[in-house]
Amino acid sequence: MNLTNSSNENHSLLLTFAHRGEARAFLQEFKGQQVFPDFYQLNTPYEGLSVYLLLTGEGFNDSMATLSFALGRYPEISEVINYGVCGLLRRDCGLEVNDLVEVSTVYADAPYGEDKAMAFKSFTLKRERVPNRDLVSTHERVLSREKADYLDNFAPLVDRELWAQAYCAQKLGVKLSSFKVISDYADGEICQQVKEEAALWSDQMLRHFRESCDSPNLEYGQSSPSYLEVFLEGSKDFHITLSQERALERILQAHHIKGNDFSELKEKMNYQELLSEKKRPKDKTKDLILHLTNALNPLEAKLRRQLGTLTYGLEKLGAQVKHDQDLDKEKLHLSITLQGQEDFHRLAQALENFPYENWSKVLRGEDV
């Protein structure tokens, strides 16, 4: 997370922990001030970053309820980082107690008591480091070797909260990542060591957070500008509706993928000329979309031109000519108002002269 970035924007980050013991080092280090029960604002040295801390409590219900409440109350929070301890289900996966791992995908068991059943839905978390591992959240504590053995088919790590938080974060469109310290082997034995080591693990998680904050390669809360923002360079010459914005973003992304340089693109389509035209901003937007689309799909532009040439005789009479939107069917929709016998005669003549064979060939891909 690069917190000394040049951006003037303020980003809000929420750290979640199931228990106070896990969060202890953070609350001490950053002198957490309670805003409401189990929710704190941290006093961090990171410029441009507001950091909050939430104690979610244990289990699916508590963590989903508290996180929903916090994110609803603070809609400016754009990212959640979950820290906590988890159990290890498998002894042969290269992980050990006290390791800190980043979670890649989180699964869950089925909610109501079935021994061998899983929730189908999974969540892929934001990842910054490798290696990372999968985790399964369970509705009840894993108290038997048999249950642990079944869950281990899906993931090597287990906790009680993360899936619920991922569900909530996805619903609210907030990024989520998770870092877990492995506290014990989840095979049914209650481990006294868990309590004794809690303070050390909290320190370990804090150290990880601080290192991440100081890393120049990681940026929490930063969003890169959209393709449209880059292309327009702040221009106010266009009036762009939401659907046009989506279309432009998609077209510009496609140009980017094709390796088309935006400056060259502007030059080819006479962008400056488009800007200086005395047209309404919304008409300029339509032109912009048309130019960019044609540049992206020259073949389709050629095809449309060919069809336009073939239907020109009808359009000249004032008819509106529409082809099947996807050009999937050989059909033409004509709309025309006729007044007097002369109009009827001219339309009949134009239809008589319509180059049907050529038109059909174009739509069959034989004359493109």
């Binding site: 189908f120 088919n153 899906f154 999937d328 069959r364 493109v368």
Partner: protein, 332 residues
């Protein structure tokens, strides 16, 4: 390659199970009751195939053979595919397996004897009429054959039924096991080919064009029958010259009479797979194209383009002297 191997108790004592395990002595193993208890029970992200790919060894239960959709192969004859594996070690950006199984883990079904029984029943029902069987609908037919060793079994089976054809579909160059077998006129190995740069950019982790052509040459020299799939064809500005070069290279490398058929198909996706492509490969060139939702709900190029593309490639084949009756258009 694999993070773990999960083995059904029912196949634990199969000799091939031991052979596979010997190839991966470092990989952890685990005994399970049934593949179906685990595989596909949760949605495992497709790209976990890069760093967390599990291998399942088990028995195929239930349906082992399925009738193939229309235009799957040469028209006028029934086509079936049999299921002896799920998923593939390769990573083609357009692959429909992305949206099919909800897990990238590889499943190898080892009860080929039972699959073979169903094949024989289906052949017998069809009498002496021609009938096709395809391997590789849900996996690559050759990529792992050096591990799985099933090819001799299927060759023996199809030797008994000359009216039945077996197609092994592949993108691999792993023909080692195949080369050990005497060719049969009714067993055809078909290779999916694209221009070399397209394979590099889109067919991730697959052998390069040169490798595939060399494998085809080795098979042709040994008398094996070959098929070619130009599928999926992906349009780009210079696609015509790319395919001209490709077809020329094929014709220079292989004797034309070794090629039994050439199928041509333009890239297409179900909406689910297209969604997965966007998610898994947001920078893919595939996403720069203008697709539409076509007559059957699949995402394709607009009809005039795809017909034009199919026509162009067919023309290029004809120009190189390939018989017209060997060319068919796939899934259109």
């Amino acid at each position: 390659m694999f993070s773990r191997i999960l083995i059904e108790n029912d196949v634990r004592d199969y000799p091939v199970t031991q052979t596979i395990l010997e190839r991966f002595p470092q990989v952890a193993t685990k005994a399970i009751d049934k593949v179906d208890d685990i595989f596909g029970r949760v949605k495992k992200p497709y790209l976990q195939k890069r760093d967390n790919l599990q291998l399942f060894l088990g028995k195929k239960r239930g349906t082992k053979i399925k009738l193939a959709p229309d235009a799957y192969g040469l028209a006028g004859e029934p086509h079936y595919y049999f299921i002896h594996a799920y998923n593939c070690i390769y990573e083609c950006e357009y692959c429909y397996l992305q949206g099919h199984f909800q897990s990238p883990d590889i499943v190898l079904f080892l009860n080929h004897d039972e699959i073979g029984e169903e094949i024989e029943k289906t052949i017998n029902k069809n009498g002496k009429n021609p009938i096709w069987f395809h391997a590789g609908e849900f996996s690559d037919s050759l990529a792992l054959t050096h591990l799985t060793g099933e090819l001799p079994f299927y060759f023996e089976l199809f030797k008994k039924y000359p009216q039945a054809k077996l197609e092994l579909r592949t993108k691999s160059a792993n023909t080692r096991e195949l080369e050990k077998l005497d060719p049969l006129p009714n067993v055809i190995t078909s290779f999916s080919l694209s221009p070399a740069h397209r394979i590099r950019s889109t067919d991730l982790k697959t052998p390069p064009l040169k490798g595939r052509l060399a494998a085809m040459k080795r098979l042709a020299d040994r008398g094996h029958a070959l098929g070619i799939h130009f599928d999926p064809v992906i349009h780009e500005d210079n696609f015509e010259s790319c395919y001209r070069e490709l077809i020329q290279e094929i014709c220079e490398t292989l004797p034309l009479d070794s090629i039994q058929y050439i199928s041509i198909g333009v890239v297409r996706f179900t909406s689910n797979v297209f969604h997965q492509v966007k998610k898994n490969y947001p920078e893919s060139e595939l996403l720069a194209a203008e697709f539409t939702s076509s007559f059957d709900g699949k995402i394709r190029y607009p009809r005039p383009f795809r017909l034009w593309i199919l026509g162009k490639i067919k023309d290029l084949c004809l120009q190189q002297g390939i018989d017209e009756e060997k060319i068919y258009l796939c899934m259109e």
